[in-house]
Symmetry: C2
C-alpha cells in the first residue's frame, strides 16, 4: 500500500488550516446548547476575458487564476492556439481578468449560451456537446491496484472536507500518484481549477486519471473528455446519459468506488486487474465520506 | 414515533419503480465480473415562457410542468399577479411551454443574466439577491420532535435514491408531516419542482418546513426565502454565506441533521425543544445516506 513517496507526489493539496477558507460560526445544537461550527466560505468571483465580463462564480476563493482559465477553457471560450498573455486577480474586487493575444467579442457566443444553457442547472450544454465528437482519447491502461492506492491516499489527505464538509473534491492523478487536489463549494469549480492548472502548467492529459467525489453526470463526463483525460473515477454513482456519452467517446468510467468495491460501466478494456480486491484493506469508518447527496 | 397517518400524508412521493426514471446498465465490477447496475436517467428539458426559449435543464424528467413553473418562479420571471393560462408538455420534443396572460419580452432580462450569473456554477445570483431584502418570513414555531419524525419518515420512504443513488431529494413538510417529496439529478430541480407544485396548487408557505439532502449554500437559502418558507433543514453542511443570508432574512437554518444530532446556525428562536434527543432512536446503518459530496 501507499508510501511517503506517494504523498510527496502532490504538487497542490488542500490547505484546510487557512483562515480565508473557513470560519467558526456560533449556533445551537440539538439540546439547545451553544455550539461553534467550522463553516466553509463561499464568495463570488467575477471572471473577465479581455474586456468582456463572462460570469460570476460562487467559489471558496483559492486559486482564482486557475479557476478563471479552467472555466474559460472548459466552456470553449479559449480558442486552440489562443495564447494567454496575463491573468490578473484583484482580491478587493473579487475579479479575475484573463487577457489573451486575441481580443474577441464574445457577445454572440454569450447570446447563444443564454438560449441553450441551464443557468440554474449547471452548464452550457449545447456548446460543450459540440466538441465531444472530435475527442480522441488515448488507450492508456489502468492497473486496478492504482485505483485502491489513489482512493486510500486521497481519503487520508488533510482537506477542507474533513474539516468542514459541504465541499466537493477533484484530484488529478498519474498512475497511482495524486498530483493536484482541488476543493470547492461550486459543483464544477474544482474540475475547472484542475483544467486551469493543466493549461497554465502545460500538463498533458494522456496518462492522467481524474478522481472526483461528485456524481458521474453527462456534464462531468463531457468536461473530462474535453480535457483529454481518458479515465474518470468517483465514489459516487452514475447517470445513464453520463454512461452513454462515456461509451460513445471511449472514456473509462468507474463509479461507486468505496473500500474494495467499484463498478465500471464504460471503457473496461483499459483496466488491468492486477490485484485481488479481497487483499485490499477495507475503508476505516472514519475515512468514509458519510454525507448526503450533495454535501 | 411516526405512524401510518404520517406516511399517508404524502400528496406526491417518489416512484422508484418507474421504468422511465432509471434503467439497468451492464458493466464490470472490481473482480472484472459482469454486473448490472440500476442507473438514473438524465435528459434535457427545454423550458419556454410564452414564445421565448428560456433554458434547457438536465432532469430525470418527471413533473416537467412543475419544474418549468417552479424554475420560472424561482428565477423571478413570473411577475406577481401574472396568471398562468396553460402549461403544455411535449414529451417527444422534451419541451415544456408555460403560457401567461402577460406576453413579456425577456430578452433584456436574459441579456442581464448572461452578464451577472454563473451558468456553470448554478444560478442567476444577481437577480435572486434582488428579491431577498423584501422577504418577510413568519415567526412559525418548530418543535424539535417534528424534525426527528420528518427525518425518520423521509429516510424510509421508497425513493430513487435508495434504488440508484446519484440523486438529490427535497421534501416540503408541514409540522411533522411530509407532503411532497421530489427527487432530481439537477441540483436545484427538486426545489424548483416543489415551488412549481406550490404555485399551481396555491399552497401557502407560512407553516411549511423544507427538508433537503443538499448543502445549505447561499443559493439554496435564497430560494427557500423567496418561496416564503421560514425553515430549511438538511442532512448536509453549511456555507458561511448561506448562514449570513439566513441570519439576515431571519430564516431558521438547520444542518448536519443525522440520527440524534443537528446544528442550528440561524433562527434558533423558532425552535421549541420538546424532546430529549437521547430518547430518539439512532439511524439504522442501512438508512444512512452513505455517499460522497455530490452523489
Amino acid at each position: 500500500m501507499p508510501t511517503l513517496d506517494h504523498i510527496a507526489s502532490y504538487r497542490i493539496q488542500p490547505d484546510p488550516g487557512s483562515p480565508k477558507l473557513s470560519r467558526p460560526i456560533v449556533g445551537v445544537d440539538q439540546d439547545g446548547q451553544p455550539i461553534s461550527s467550522q463553516v466553509i466560505e463561499e464568495r463570488p468571483l467575477t471572471i473577465y476575458l479581455n474586456a468582456q465580463e463572462i460570469v460570476t462564480a460562487m467559489t471558496i476563493g483559492d486559486y482564482p487564476e486557475y479557476l478563471a482559465v479552467g472555466f474559460l477553457k472548459n466552456q470553449g471560450m479559449l480558442k486552440p492556439g489562443e495564447r494567454i498573455t496575463e491573468v490578473e486577480f484583484d482580491e478587493e474586487l473579487d475579479v479575475v481578468v484573463v487577457r489573451t493575444d486575441t481580443a474577441s467579442n464574445y457577445e454572440e457566443k454569450l447570446a447563444k449560451k443564454t438560449r441553450t444553457s441551464g443557468c440554474a442547472v449547471g452548464t452550457v450544454f449545447g456548446d460543450m456537446m459540440e466538441g465531444v465528437d472530435a475527442v480522441d482519447l488515448p488507450s492508456t491502461t489502468v492497473q486496478t491496484s492504482w485505483l485502491y492506492t489513489l482512493s486510500h491516499l486521497i481519503n487520508r489527505t488533510p482537506s477542507l472536507y474533513l474539516e468542514t464538509g459541504a465541499i466537493h473534491g477533484t484530484v488529478l492523478c498519474e498512475a497511482d500518484k495524486p498530483l493536484v487536489y482541488m476543493e470547492d463549494v461550486g459543483r464544477h469549480n474544482a474540475v475547472d481549477k484542475i483544467s486551469g492548472w493543466m493549461h497554465l502548467e502545460n500538463e498533458t492529459p494522456d496518462q492522467k486519471i481524474l478522481y472526483t467525489t461528485g456524481r458521474l453526470t453527462s456534464e462531468m463526463v463531457i468536461k473530462t473528455a474535453l480535457m483529454g483525460i481518458p479515465v474518470l473515477v468517483s465514489r459516487s454513482g452514475f447517470t445513464a446519459w453520463g454512461v452513454d456519452i462515456a461509451q460513445q467517446v471511449g472514456l473509462t468510467l468507474i463509479g461507486r468506488m468505496r473500500g474494495r468495491k467499484f463498478t465500471c460501466l464504460s471503457g473496461a478494456d483499459r483496466l488491468i486487474f492486477d490485484i485481488d480486491p479481497d487483499t485490499v484493506p477495507d475503508e476505516p469508518k472514519k475515512n468514509r465520506r458519510k454525507s448526503a447527496v450533495d454535501e
